[in-house]
């Protein structure tokens, strides 16, 4: 590796350093000039103006997971469509049929989830 290669990263490091110093300087300046007067109302979490009514770390209802699982599965299967789309013209009709078979199998999965009631909000 040429030294130039590493030197080219130096500017990024310098920029990062400058950023950190800038932010620290702003916060420090604000600290110096601000007036401090904390009271309970002021220390509560700000949630778009609505008063917070419970801890934000409450557990999610488990049914969200089911939807998330289904989403992740179908989302990731879509990854195969991209390379296929890129060489769609070269593959011709055969490629089209093959992808249709793939999607049909995925549809089977979707129908199964549907019939089993996994898509219902119970």
């Amino acid at each position: 590796m040429t030294p130039d290669y590493y030197v080219s990263y130096l500017s990024i490091a310098l920029l990062g350093l400058a950023d950190i110093l800038f932010v620290l300087a702003l916060i420090g300046a604000s600290r110096l000039v601000q007036r401090r007067n904390p009271y309970p109302q002021k220390l509560t979490t700000y949630e778009c103006g609505i008063e917070p009514f419970s801890d934000s770390w409450s557990p999610f209802a488990i049914r969200y997971y089911i939807f998330a699982l289904l989403f992740v599965l179908f989302d990731v299967e879509a990854v195969f469509l991209y390379p296929w789309a890129v060489i769609f013209r070269d593959m011709g009709f055969t490629g089209f049929i093959e992808m249709m078979i793939f999607i049909t199998v995925l549809l089977f999965g979707l129908f199964y989830a549907w019939i089993k009631g996994a898509l219902e909000w119970v």
């Binding site: 055969t94 089977f108 129908f111 199964y112 019939i115």
Partner: protein, 485 residues
């Protein structure tokens, strides 16, 4: 293109059936689901038929991703037999536990397809997809009784260890690809044999792959999951898991060790021998102290993995063909006897208050003479006593190890085999020579399927014991054609 599809006709049949079962299952009334099992068995029969018609073909398909040859055909047939017997064992048991769902049969079929793809692949990518198809389906199967804590716990343990092991296999494969630049077994093997690869990376890759496979087949020190998984999962599933993935794992291991790493046998033979000895030791001694029959069978299956690994180490020597053929025969015999042994447990728990404990066996010879008789056959076979399949299987296996110049190793194996005979024969002693403290309560749930499955396994064990040559010849033919021995 047409050629490609021809090679995977059995798989296509199983996949189509699995999808159809999934879709029609929720639409059926609860008692209409019994037919789904027969649909699965029928699909396996059709797949077996198409496999039979393909038996003389030999070609590679899908751009050298899979190969169709005698070796693959042999294992496909074995997997189909395993799937059929496992499905026959299941129905009544599922019904009694209110879990008779089509999903079960779909998963068995898909796991079978996974095993087939693993075995027929000659490319590490295809192999990986097959491996995961099998593994994912078996994780769900282990937890199929999802209202039973033990079953779900078994499933989660199986999943965590299995997924962890998969990453090791995968990293090993990635390294093999990295140092050779190929994903095809043959090409990787040739590049390694040519010697232009960094040795240390190769050693790491070999260790990772062996560790990963060790996890998958349940070899010590990667065996901890096996007893818990077999004990917790539904008994018919335990029957399937104790034979199917193991057979597939060894089918691939033979290919890996000969085609890819054949030139490197100096590196891995010692490692495999060490693992084999520890595996036999732990399997045989731990099985002695188990009071739960499913755990006992789990440790016994670990011991059997040890014997099989002995033969794998022999396949690094000159007489590789004989060693590999003996493994193939052993897997067939082992599949039948282990399915049978678990099947009898299914039968007993369906028909009585049997709780899978050793003490429950007392007095069984009088109370359930048929079941006791059949279990005796399977136990004799597992112990390796003639005239059963287990005897010939062990005989050929140890003969192959001796031929490889590892006579001392065969002695060690025979010694552990002697130890293991004790806990198999103890089962028979309990059944016929012990008075029960109280008799089991009968509940009289008969099932034709279950009896048929048990009968098939028992007849198979006796046939292989009395007349082993057709299967043995098939195994040797397969190796002559494929691996070029």
């Amino acid at each position: 293109m047409q050629h490609d599809l021809l090679a995977i006709i059995p798989e296509l049949m199983l996949i189509a059936t699995a999808l159809v079962i999934l879709l029609i299952d929720p639409l059926l009334p609860p008692d209409g689901r019994r037919g789904l099992g027969y649909l699965g068995v029928f699909a396996c029969a059709m797949a077996g038929l198409s496999t039979w018609f393909l038996r003389n073909e030999e070609f590679t398909a899908f751009n050298d991703a899979i190969s169709l040859d005698r070796y693959t055909i042999y294992f496909k047939a074995l997997f189909l037999v395993i799937a059929v017997i496992a499905m026959l064992l299941s129905e009544k048991h599922l019904e009694l536990h209110r879990r008779l769902l089509g999903d079960y049969y779909s998963l068995i079929l898909l796991a079978t397809v996974g095993m087939m793809v693993m075995t027929e692949s000659i490319d590490i990518m295809t192999f990986f997809v097959g491996l995961e198809l099998m593994a994912l389906a078996s994780y769900i199967l282990a937890g199929f009784f999802r209202y039973d804590e033990l079953s779900v716990e078994a499933s989660l343990k199986y999943f965590l260890t299995g997924a962890f092991a998969s990453t090791f296999v995968l990293f090993g494969l990635a390294l093999l690809y990295g140092i050779t630049g190929y994903t095809n077994y043959q090409q990787i093997g040739e590049t390694i044999a040519a010697g232009n690869v960094p040795g240390s990376t190769l050693v790491i890759a070999i260790i990772l792959v062996i560790a990963g496979f060790g996890f998958k087949v349940g070899a010590v020190p990667f065996h901890n999951w096996a007893p818990d998984v077999y004990q917790g999962s539904p008994t018919p599933v335990a029957a399937f898991l104790s034979v199917g993935p193991k057979a597939a794992g060894f089918a691939v291991l033979i290919k890996f060790m000969t085609v890819i790493l054949g030139s490197e046998s100096g590196t891995w033979v010692g490692l495999i021998i060490a693992i084999a000895i520890v595996t036999m030791l732990v399997g045989a001694t731990m099985a002695l102290v188990q009071r739960d029959l499913k755990r006992m069978l789990a440790y016994s299956s670990i011991a059997h993995v040890g014997y099989l690994l002995l033969a794998i180490s022999a396949s690094g020597e000159e007489v590789a063909a004989f060693a590999s053929a003996s493994i193939m025969f052993y897997l067939a015999a082992y599949a039948l006897m282990n399915l049978g042994a678990f099947g009898v447990l299914v039968y007993l728990s369906n028909n009585s208050s049997f709780g899978n404990r050793l003490d429950d066996l007392a007095g069984l010879g009088k109370q359930f003479p048929w079941a006791a008789g059949i279990l005796t056959v399977f136990m004799l076979s597992l112990a390796g006593i003639p005239p059963t399949a287990g005897f010939f299987a062990k005989f050929y296996l140890f003969a192959a190890v001796v031929d490889a110049g590892l006579a001392w190793l065969a002695m060690v194996g025979a010694l552990f085999s002697l130890v293991s005979a004790f806990y198999y024969l103890r089962v028979i002693v309990y059944m016929y020579m012990r008075q029960p403290e109280q008799e089991l309560e009968r509940s009289g749930e008969r099932s034709f399927d279950l009896n048929l499955g048990l009968g098939l396994a028992a007849v198979g064990v006796l046939l292989l014991g009395l007349y082993p040559s057709p299967v043995l010849d098939a195994a040797q033919d397969a190796l002559l054609m494929v691996l070029g021995f």
